[in-house]
């Protein structure tokens, strides 16, 4: 980074002469030190997975969940500063609740990503705040069924105008990734955190754009990719945290939930097995940070 120390990197919302906002770039650094997080968009749902580094034996096992639910069918996983991730989730929940109070129905995943993109971007605009030190992956299932309105008590008239179009389809799996700049894209497979390069390489091999991969396959691939991405920091222990959200007919019935223990353990077993014969991959090492980053 050439312009470090020239003074343009000391305050948020300030451009350097070559048009960069250094504080945002530094926030990205905080993300790059965090444990790897990925999301996979499958044909019948979305899987989120996280490499949760365990830095103390005194931590309670299987507690301290990091992948959060927003409204009932969206999951959020983030890499970077833990408390910033919680702030992000808390705002996402407020947005979802506010959406419900206006529209009387759950927020579409795309709208949630859009609003959160806007929120995060606002933290790059002012010198009185700092950008978010997280990149968040937002995955959800928008219901394919015809939803009632919140608080609906009856079925309404059986004949007459209903505004329904014959054969119209909606809903499905959605996956977005929001960066500290506020920038966000939709993804077939998204990865962030320390092991993102290795994870991205693995995700690309899956041909996710074809939309062929099933949710169960997705779970197994997600576990494997986290294990591959962990190769870099092999010395540290980690817990694999995985959640998923499926269609209404699928295993989670449209809700965002933790992947059942049995399935997760099976996926982990396969992941470990797949790694055994291979040689470790070479990746650029990033130096570790303080305890705020996992």
């Amino acid at each position: 980074m050439t312009s470090i120390g020239t003074g343009y990197d000391l305050s948020n919302s300030v451009f350097s002469p070559d048009g960069r906002n250094f504080q945002v770039e530094y926030a990205v650094k905080a993300v790059e030190n965090g444990g790897t997080a990925i999301g996979i968009r499958c044909k019948d749902g979305v899987v989120l997975a996280l490499e949760k580094l365990i830095h103390s034996r005194l931590l309670k096992k299987d507690a301290n969940k990091r992948i959060a639910t927003v409204d009932r069918k969206v999951g959020v996983v983030s890499a970077g500063l833990l408390p910033d991730g919680r702030h992000f989730v808390s705002r996402a929940r407020d947005e979802a609740a506010q959406w419900r109070s206006i529209y009387k129905s759950p927020i579409p995943t795309s709208s949630l990503a859009d609003r959160m993109g806007g929120y995060v971007q606002a933290y790059t605009l002012y010198s009185s705040v700092r950008p978010f030190g997280v990149t968040a992956i937002v995955g959800g299932w928008d219901s394919e069924a015809e939803l009632g309105v919140d608080g609906q008590v009856g079925s309404g008239p059986k004949v007459g105008a209903g505004g329904k179009r014959e054969g119209a389809k909606s809903g499905g799996p959605y996956l977005y990734m929001i960066e500290p700049s506020g920038l966000y894209w939709g993804y077939y497979g998204a990865a962030t955190g320390k092991g993102r390069q290795a994870a991205k390489a693995e995700l690309e091999k899956l041909n996710l754009a074809d939309g062929e991969i099933s949710l169960e396959q997705g779970v197994k691939e997600a576990a494997r990719i986290i294990y591959v991405a962990h190769e870099d920091s092999k010395d540290k222990e980690f817990e694999l945290e995985m959640t998923w959200v499926s269609s209404l007919e699928g295993p989670t019935k449209g809700h965002h939930q933790e992947v059942p223990k049995a399935l997760r353990e099976e996926a982990e077993r396969l992941a470990k097995k797949s790694l055994e014969p291979e040689d470790e991959e070479e990746e650029a090492r990033v130096e570790g940070g303080d305890r705020m980053e996992e």
């Binding site: 609740a97 109070s101 079925s155």
Partner: protein
């Protein structure tokens, strides 16, 4: 009464003189709801040994018009709480949305293990306390939610719980409860079956369901704002909530109608 609803319920100018606008807001005092609009009638419930039965019919009336005939006035909150709403239907919908927001928020702090989740879920007593606060706050703002609510389910000790809260924020608990006309027509019948907590311990689910069905029939006979389609829910220990929303009143007997003289289309 005249045709200016704005003036209804206010001191009449010809009696008290014109309102002095210097005293309060220029357009007089502020008014909130004075009466419910679309309404549901009675809700009845009775405790038995291992749970609670609750029922309400599926009608929403607009004054004396039977306006909506498939309205669900029993709402399941979670695996151990059901709410029954009487009174204004739009206020009920408002509360329903309030509770679904609450339910979503509660899910956020869920833990890893299923058994822990059951322990931390809001129980019937928690929800009744909460609703009592909501209702009392609104009545204290002179803007009540025009409902009478029965909260049924299991409390923190997994014991049957039954309590009511109304538009004034009044709370009450008893082995049997009924709102609206039911308080006059069904409550005596329910009390005969379950006079006290001792009787609750003897009560079976079958008998409780039986007496509730009987009451629904009496209410349909005597309450002009009722309908013969109703919903019934049973919350029982260690079981999922059973909620049936399309019950039909069976074995009605209108033979007595022959003998009634004096109104209707008959010629005396």
């Amino acid at each position: 009464m005249n045709h200016f609803p704005h003036g209804w319920g206010r001191p009449r100018d010809d009696v008290y003189g014109a309102y002095n606008h210097a005293y309060l807001q220029p357009d007089g005092s502020k008014q909130h709801t004075q009466s419910p609009i679309v309404t549901g009638t009675s809700v009845i419930a009775v405790k038995f040994k291992d749970g609670v039965v609750i029922a309400a019919d599926n009608l929403a009336s607009y004054g004396s018009l039977a306006r909506f005939t498939d309205v669900k006035r029993l709402r399941r909150f979670n695996s151990r709480v059901v709410l029954g709403f009487g009174g204004d239907v739009s206020d009920m919908q408002h509360l329903d949305r309030l509770l679904s927001t609450l339910s979503i928020r509660e899910d956020y702090s869920s833990t890893a293990s299923e058994s822990d989740n059951a322990a931390r879920e809001l129980n019937a007593r928690n929800l009744h306390t909460y609703l009592a606060k909501v209702m009392y706050k609104r009545r204290s703002e002179f803007n009540p939610l025009w409902n009478a609510i029965l909260v049924v389910g299991l409390d923190g000790e997994s014991q049957p719980f039954l309590a009511t809260v109304d538009l004034l924020g009044t709370t009450f608990s008893a082995p049997t409860l009924a709102t609206g006309f039911g308080a006059h027509l069904a409550q005596p019948i329910l009390r005969r079956a379950v006079p006290d907590e001792a009787a609750v311990a003897e009560m079976t689910r079958e008998k409780a369901v039986g007496v509730v069905r009987e009451c629904m029939k009496v209410l349909f006979y005597r309450d002009a704002r009722s309908i013969d389609k109703y919903s019934m829910a049973v919350v029982e220990k260690e079981k999922e909530v059973e909620l049936v929303e399309d019950e039909q009143l069976e074995q009605q007997s209108w033979a007595f109608a022959e003998g009634i003289k004096g109104y209707g289309t008959q010629t005396v």
